[in-house]
């Protein structure tokens, strides 16, 4: 990506520190957890940046900080030329038309008391878009786009499987015609056969609507299937950032190497070689990983 357009999203030196408190009546801050510790990257319009890391690496926190769902401690999040960190609630609410999120767990992220139609249409209501009738039509179209039967708008989420629920979540994220969607582990709760359906859907939507994705996941193969560029996070820091092909074939950072070598691949012959490689790396890395 060497074009001179200004990026759609620019994150600069982002920090999020959580205080560690002690004491019952008189709480004092005894320490800090640096969940995100100086992260910078850019995403061009129409591109997918994959953000990978293990649990606790700070990848989801980074996503939430971009959307201002949690306030970053410091740093800048610049979206389409506008700084998001200083915005108040009302201004941010307006910006959310452009930035949406798809969550990991489609069982927890959909309100069980709302119908499918209400869930998908809610963003339109919140932003006062369209009449009741035109909204109903929009909802039907959105559900159709994500491959969910539009005649089920009056049903409730519990009636559907994980894959179908994730389609509802995606339709909702699309409702306001956003530019950027943060996908936070969108397929990790799904079975392989269903996971492939959702990944293909996300690819199709990107092609059809020119969407930009920040694709956060722990599964390195899934991220590779989706991303133009890859950012690897470890303990709050970006340890590697580059074109997907390069990061996967010639990883520079030791942590990235260890991470890649640890993935079991569905090929028993290749697995024998990878196991040997993994052991060799583990010995070489014993010192760096232990610190």
């Amino acid at each position: 990506m060497t074009d001179d357009r200004s990026p759609l999203l620019r994150v600069t030196d982002l920090h999020k520190h959580f205080p560690v408190k002690q004491g019952l009546l008189i709480e004092r801050t005894v320490d800090e957890v640096k969940a995100v510790d100086g992260v910078s990257f850019e995403i061009q319009e129409g591109e997918t940046l994959g953000l990978v890391g293990e649990s606790g690496s700070g990848k989801s926190t980074t996503g939430y900080c971009i959307l201002q769902l949690i306030k970053p401690t410091s740093g800048s999040v610049c979206f389409a030329g506008e700084e998001l960190t200083g915005l108040d609630r009302e201004q941010m609410r307006k910006m959310r038309r452009e930035l949406q999120i798809v969550f990991q767990d489609p069982y927890a992220s959909l309100d069980p008391r709302m119908t499918v139609g209400d869930i998908v249409g809610e963003p339109l209501v919140v932003h006062g878009l369209g009449s009741r009738r035109s909204r109903r039509e929009s909802v039907r179209q959105l559900l159709d786009v994500v491959g969910f039967n539009p005649s089920f708008t009056n049903r409730y989420p519990h009636e559907f499987s994980g894959g179908q629920r994730q389609r509802i979540g995606i339709a909702r994220a699309l409702a306001l015609n956003p530019k950027l969607i943060v996908c936070d582990e969108p397929v990790s709760a799904l079975d392989v056969s269903i996971q492939a359906q959702i990944l293909n859907l996300l690819k199709d939507l990107q092609r059809d609507f020119g969407l930009t994705y920040l694709f956060i996941a722990h599964d390195l193969a899934v991220v590779r299937a989706m991303s133009d560029r890859i950012a690897v996070m470890n303990r709050g820091k970006l340890v590697e950032l580059g074109p997907a092909e390069e990061v996967y074939t010639q990883p520079q950072d030791d942590y990235t190497k260890a991470l890649l070598s640890a993935v079991p691949v569905p090929d028993p012959r290749r697995m024998k070689e990878r196991k040997a490689e993994r052991r060799r790396l583990q010995h070489a890395l014993a010192d760096t990983v232990a610190t």
Partner: protein, 337 residues
């Protein structure tokens, strides 16, 4: 004689909505010192199969309605609970997906390990404690003696799974059943746990059943693989044979649906998704259970007429399908010739 022989196992759940045929005629055997991998997606019956072997299915609602589980000449299904307790944890052990829910959060790690060895091996309190330290060292818990009196919450996920492995191995079982042992773990920790299991399995000359949804994990760990779908075995073969020549359309589709870690043009490509979802296990049609999602089946062929038999296509390679890959290729070759 195989160490474990499961014959025509049927485990059904009797619910208000109807009878759920979770395991519906499963047969396989595990040889001494070998690892069998059972793969499948959620609801295919892989875990219920394991729990049935261990006699741990919740009854009611579940019941083994048919079949036998022969372990060294004894049928575990018909063994009295008292005798089963002597087998369980002693000769067959099991580890589970989520090591946090399997450890009692209110008991010290040491207490939980010594419990097992005292019950099965009748060790004294002191000897049991010594044995516990030994076991923790074996699964490479640093400063084992010092950590014996910690509570489970002081251990990380990977360390908890090591504790579970230590407990499972405490009585040197002949068979270890590992149900999604690394699913809750990060990939680098998963690699360490798989390496550890492999090493210990060799050292103890133990047989293992590893149950997982992850084709990569079985490619790494298993000698023989069973693929399950909707309560039945749909394909079974030696690990190299299965990955070199997958026969069942479901196995092929499952491999095609997996994103690849290595290769070219991955970003541009599409995954071959399997349309639809697995059938309702209460209302199973008298037909091939994969047929509605199968790209080769149609309404007029044998797939719609009855459940295909599990047949031996090549020595040791079993398939339950009317359209295995080799027969399709053969048919195509004939047409072109």
């Amino acid at each position: 004689m195989a160490l474990l022989e499961v014959n025509d196992l049927h485990t059904h759940f009797f619910t208000r909505e109807g009878v759920v045929r979770a395991v519906d005629g499963v047969s396989f055997s595990v040889e001494r010192g070998k690892t069998l991998g059972i793969v499948g997606e959620s609801g295919c019956g892989k875990s219920v199969t394991a729990l049935s072997i261990m006699g741990l299915i919740p009854q009611p609602p579940a019941r083994i309605v048919e079949g036998s589980v022969m372990f060294e000449g004894r049928d575990l299904v018909r063994l009295p609970e008292r005798e089963l307790e002597d087998v369980r944890g002693n000769e067959i052990s099991m580890i589970f997906q989520d090591p946090m829910t399997c450890l009692n959060p209110t008991l010290r790690i040491g207490t939980q390990i010594t419990e097992t060895v005292r019950r099965h091996q009748g060790l004294s309190r002191q000897d049991a404690r010594r044995r516990a330290v030994e076991l923790l060292e074996q699964v490479r818990i640093p400063n084992a003696a010092g950590r014996l009196d910690d509570y489970p919450h002081r251990y990380s996920g990977g360390m908890r799974q090591r504790v579970m492995i230590a407990m499972a191995l405490s009585c040197t079982p002949k068979l270890l059943i590992a149900d999604e042992p690394t699913t809750a773990l990060d990939v680098t920790v998963q690699a360490q746990v798989l390496d550890l299991l492999e090493e210990l399995r060799r050292e103890y000359q133990m047989a293992m059943i590893i149950i997982t949804h992850d084709m990569g994990v079985v490619a790494e760990a298993a000698d023989e693989i069973v693929v399950m779908y909707a309560g039945q075995i749909v394909e079974q073969a030696d690990v190299l044979e299965l990955f070199d020549h997958p026969e069942h359309p479901y196995t092929e589709a499952l491999l095609g649906a997996l994103p690849q870690l290595e290769g070219e043009g991955i970003r541009e490509g599409r995954l071959t998704a399997i349309p639809g979802r697995p059938p309702d296990l209460i209302q199973l049609p008298p037909a091939c259970r994969f047929a509605p999602r199968c790209r080769y089946a149609n309404r007029h062929d044998a797939c719609a007429q009855g459940v295909p038999e599990l047949r031996e296509l090549r020595p040791g390679h079993f398939v339950r399908s009317g359209h295995p890959a080799s027969e399709r290729a053969g048919a195509r070759a004939e047409v072109t010739a």
